[in-house]
């Protein structure tokens, strides 16, 4: 009897220790998303363009089907490691993450898509860690600076004033998208789409005022084979 009680105690301890592990798993999963910038390295060949057109939406549709099956109870939530409690009866963050990346890759120029993807993949977990250890003020400052850096990388070929404005607008959108949490709309979606839409408006305004906006020049498609 004592043995059983001890075993239950041990199992409870192990389950509790999952908290920390799921935490880093989620962070590593976020950072992994930065690999999607590989999309822009692919060369401009017919068969690769077909793959570029079809593979991302097929992956997202697969993920959506999987999530629908989970929410309907056809697939157990036990198979999905790292889900939070609020995702039990709601669409998981990873679906929002995938849909936002798909929209960015398909409908936005590199100057918007790449920094937004990096914000979701790297700035988001960095902000999460800062929130874990410090106050919300620190989250805003660190998040803003990190996101601004990503936007500066993408816009450094533009006019300097446009680069600064684009970085501030993008970073502001990303920080607002990350810190404002809604139950029905995930921050993984907002951190990507809010700055993207804000920058799209900025591009239209910049062109109206005569600024030359660089287009798809952040990552130049690779030669094949290297």
């Amino acid at each position: 009897m004592v043995n059983v009680a001890q075993k239950i105690k041990d199992t409870k301890k192990k389950i509790d220790s999952l908290d920390f592990d799921a935490h880093w798993y989620r962070r590593a999963f976020h950072a992994f998303g930065a690999s999607f910038v590989f999309y822009y390295m692919l060369p401009d060949l017919d068969w690769i363009n077909i793959l570029k057109f079809w593979v991302p939406p097929i992956l997202v549709v697969f993920v959506i089907i999987l999530e629908v099956l989970r929410l309907k109870g056809k697939v157990s939530s036990d198979h999905f490691f790292g889900l939070r409690m609020y995702e039990q009866n709601r669409v998981g963050s990873y679906v929002f993450f995938g849909v936002a990346i798909l929209l960015l890759l398909r409908f936005f120029p590199q100057e918007i898509a790449i920094p937004c993807i990096l914000c979701a993949c790297l700035a988001d977990p960095i902000m999460g860690e800062v929130r874990h250890h410090f106050t919300m003020k620190h989250v805003y400052v660190v998040g803003f600076l990190v996101c601004m850096f990503f936007f500066m990388i993408a816009w450094y070929k533009a006019d300097i004033s446009l680069m600064i404005v684009a970085s501030i607008v993008g970073a502001t959108g990303a920080v607002i998208g990350e810190t404002k949490k809604f139950w029905w709309l995930d921050d993984d979606f907002m951190i990507q789409m809010l700055p993207a839409v804000m920058l799209l408006i900025l591009i239209v305004c910049a062109q109206y005022f005569g600024f030359i906006v660089p287009e798809n020049s952040v990552i130049i498609p690779g030669l094949w084979p290297w």
Partner: protein, 89 residues
């Protein structure tokens, strides 16, 4: 959103399953971003640095960002996984 909602879903029945899932995913989560980062840096070196073309500088910076960003989160992830495996045994 309250703290309770931010907790991770846990179930004693899926303990072994999640460890297996993590171990299966680990190579993908770690190796793919490193390869992409290295390819970006390689692209800058072969087409930018050697041919003296500065338009590839952004590839270099993004490559470094991808590499460093992933290494920062991969190290604690591997450590936690190791700690978890040792607890299990």
């Amino acid at each position: 959103m309250n703290e309770e909602n931010m907790k991770y879903m846990k179930n004693k029945n899926n303990f072994n399953r999640v460890i297996r899932a993590e171990l299966l995913f680990m190579p993908l989560l770690i190796v793919v971003p490193l390869i992409v980062g290295i390819l970006l840096v390689h692209d800058w070196f072969t087409r930018g640095y050697l041919l003296n073309d500065s338009s590839f500088n952004s590839s270099l910076i993004i490559g470094i960002v991808v590499l460093v960003g992933n290494i920062i989160f991969d190290i604690p992830f591997i450590k936690s996984l190791k700690a978890m495996s040792s607890k299990k045994t």
